[in-house]
């Protein structure tokens, strides 16, 4: 698992209140197993997974495939580890911001987590996916989809409802985040060579790079 035979090392980080299911979500993603036991994460942990990323070309042309090594950081939701966990935010390229659909409070705290991210992540507007977990517990649901969707729209980030228990949307969510990061990478390297535009902090994503004019002489 630790050989260097991959094209990208992508570091993702899951954050959110204690007990929303970050560890279980990641466990489901990497091992396709649901572990219903609640074992609180001590400070920080990570899991790894090797995936194949299919890069669709710029015009939908068949793209290349890349081997991506994912390092999925899991953080303790508990307040007492906060200073440790937030220190790890700066090393992650993308974030899985998670709340519990059966806990209104965990949803309300999303706002706090967002500001933590803005302060500690590698840039003001990193790639984030908002995740409402425990979608399978529909009878205990406290947060409705509209509410969550609106919040995600406000931040300009995608929203998914997932269930680590059934596996619903788990892979899709991570794939989405991976997608965003892969795009961001390209934009970053191309942008720096064209112009250094600073994007508004409110939007979750960079504006699409303007198509440059064709240089003549060919």
């Amino acid at each position: 698992m630790t050989d260097g035979d991959y094209d990208y090392l992508i570091k993702l980080l899951a954050l959110g209140d204690s007990g929303v299911g970050k560890t279980t979500f990641l466990y489901r993603y990497t091992d396709r197993i649901f572990n219903p036991k609640f074992i609180t994460t001590v400070g920080i942990d990570f899991r790894e997974k090797r995936v194949v990323y299919n890069n669709t070309g710029p015009n939908g042309s068949p793209g290349k495939t890349f081997k991506v090594h994912l390092q999925l950081w899991d953080t303790a939701g508990q307040e007492r580890f906060r200073s440790l966990t937030t220190a790890f935010f700066r090393d992650a390229m993308g974030f899985l911001l998670m709340f519990d659909l059966t806990s209104q409070q965990s949803f309300l705290n999303v706002r706090n987590w967002m500001s933590q991210l803005q302060a500690n992540a590698y840039c003001e507007n990193p790639d984030i996916v908002l995740i409402g977990n425990k979608a399978d517990l529909s009878d205990q649901r406290e947060v409705n989809e509209r509410q969550a969707k609106d919040l995600a729209d406000k931040y300009g980030i995608p929203y998914f409802e997932t269930s680590a228990a059934t596996g619903q949307n788990v892979e899709k969510t991570v794939d989405m985040l991976l997608d965003l990061i892969m795009k961001r990478m390209e934009q970053c390297v191309d942008k720096t060579q064209v112009s250094e535009t600073v994007n508004g902090a409110a939007s979750g994503k960079l504006d699409p790079v303007k198509p440059e004019e064709k240089k003549c002489a060919c």
Binding site: G4, L9, G43, K215
Partner: protein, 445 residues
């Protein structure tokens, strides 16, 4: 009350170990990544060199990449936006139908993406003052290791800045701010451990913890008594440095007035002063003994003889077990008196902190001691690959003077834990001291 405190501190220790284990695991990932990045950059470098032209040549119209000559009408070539060199159409790679780059610029772009440089550059815009490529995990681990074996000279400023690497000009205060907050965790955990067994003036108490697990209470007591001379040294230093003393007092005060159950959360909010002074105080005192004695006595004796031991790793309990059987033909610790009271000490490098130190009992008046003791380290096998076992033999002289008699270093990098032959007893030739420069350690982790 006491029992309650103990279980709390025990938990803290476990927590710290758990986090350390994660950090060590991360180092393994990071090392593979570093190797990969090095390779990528090397390849790019080679590609660049292929395209280098000398000045005369560049006056002529030729492709900067393949050196093919370019015409004035047909195949005129075009200037690459990235490097401003004129290249032929064959040496262009299109990113989309409009944008292209020359092969080298394209490779450069690819490398920037694949090495994660895009990320570090973005991050440097926001956190311009910290080490560009350094991860939190590495930083944390380095500062932890420094903390547990902070230098012999206490009143130096904390050396975190060095760790921030890459030769970037660093703003000290900023970097401290960061390290402080995370380091804090370790500090608070360590303080907890120390607190429970510590009376006001008992500076050696932390040792109790380190050895208690291995049933060496007696050993610890002996040591403690004999440390008085070092302790006097420390006392002298402290009186000479009134600032330090004040800081120490302050730390103690803070500890005492805090309720243990709520302490931990509050620890995160300590002011930087308290943390630094406290950290330095404990850090230096507990390592002072071993460091001092070691440094003094390396070259006073010849190194002869062998040590017979077996190493095995117990996967069930995640324990590394080193069974020290015996030594043969050791040099005399005190040549004139023909005296030798040998014992064996081990460290799991790069950790040179007291946590990493284990010792056997001292055998009296023999150069062929038989120990038959098993020293155990609780460590996850994934962490172990970054470690090296240092087994050294020492003579315990009068007034606890220690004389180095030889050592063996066993790296675990390519260790086959399943190999049974290594689990049987083997003889290792004792070697003279290899001083491991601190830089090496930084590379290893």
């Amino acid at each position: 009350m006491m029992a309650e405190e103990f279980s709390l501190s025990f938990l803290m220790e476990l927590e710290r170990d758990k986090i350390l284990e994660v950090l060590y695991r991360d180092q393994v990932v990071q090392k593979a990544e570093d190797d990969r990045i090095r390779k990528l950059k090397m390849q790019l470098h080679q590609l660049r060199w292929k395209g280098v032209k000398n000045v005369n040549e560049s006056q002529e119209r030729s492709c900067a990449r393949c050196q093919q000559s370019l015409g004035w009408m047909l195949n005129r070539g075009a200037v690459c936006e990235g490097c401003s060199h004129r290249v032929c159409s064959g040496c262009r790679i299109y990113l989309n139908i409009y944008i292209w780059k020359c092969t080298v610029c394209y490779a450069h772009r690819e490398v920037k993406i694949k090495t994660g440089d895009w990320f570090f550059e973005e991050r440097a815009k926001k956190f311009s003052l910290s080490g560009k490529y350094e991860t939190t995990g590495t930083k944390l681990l380095t500062s932890y290791q420094k903390m547990s074996n902070i230098s012999v000279v206490p009143p130096t400023p904390p050396p975190f800045a060095e760790a921030a690497s890459e030769g970037n000009s660093m703003d000290l205060s900023k970097s401290k701010g960061f390290t402080k907050s995370v380091e804090n965790l370790f500090f608070s955990l360590t303080t907890h451990m120390k607190k429970i067994s510590k009376s006001q003036d008992d500076v050696t108490a932390p040792r109790f913890h380190l050895t208690a697990d291995y049933g060496q209470h007696a050993e610890w007591r002996k040591e403690r008594r004999s440390q008085s001379d070092t302790a006097i040294d420390i006392a002298n230093r402290i009186t000479n440095a009134p600032n330090l003393l004040n800081l120490i007092k302050k730390t103690k005060g803070t500890e005492e007035c805090e309720d243990s159950s709520s302490k931990q959360e509050e620890d995160f909010n300590f002011t930087s002063n308290t943390i630094f002074s406290g950290r330095r105080k404990y850090g230096s005192i507990c390592s002072i003994n071993s460091t001092c004695t070691e440094a003094d006595n390396y070259d006073k004796t010849n190194v002869t003889g062998e040590i017979e031991l077996a190493i095995m790793y117990n996967f069930k309990t995640s324990t590394l077990e080193i069974c020290i059987k015996a030594c043969t033909n050791l040099a005399y610790g005190e040549e004139k008196k023909k005296k030798c009271n040998p014992y064996v000490k081990t460290y799991l490098l790069p950790d040179k902190s007291p946590q990493s130190k284990l010792k056997t009992a001292v055998k009296k008046n023999t150069v062929n001691p038989s120990f038959l003791e098993t020293l155990k380290y609780k460590i996850h096998c994934s962490q172990l690959v970054t470690r090296m076992l240092q087994i050294s033999v020492w003579h315990s002289g009068t007034l606890k003077r220690k004389v180095f008699l030889g050592e063996v270093l066993i790296p675990f990098e390519s260790w086959d834990f399943g190999d049974n032959s290594l689990q049987s007893f083997n003889c290792y030739q004792l070697k003279t001291k290899v001083i491991i420069a601190p830089q090496n350690r930084a590379c290893m982790v």
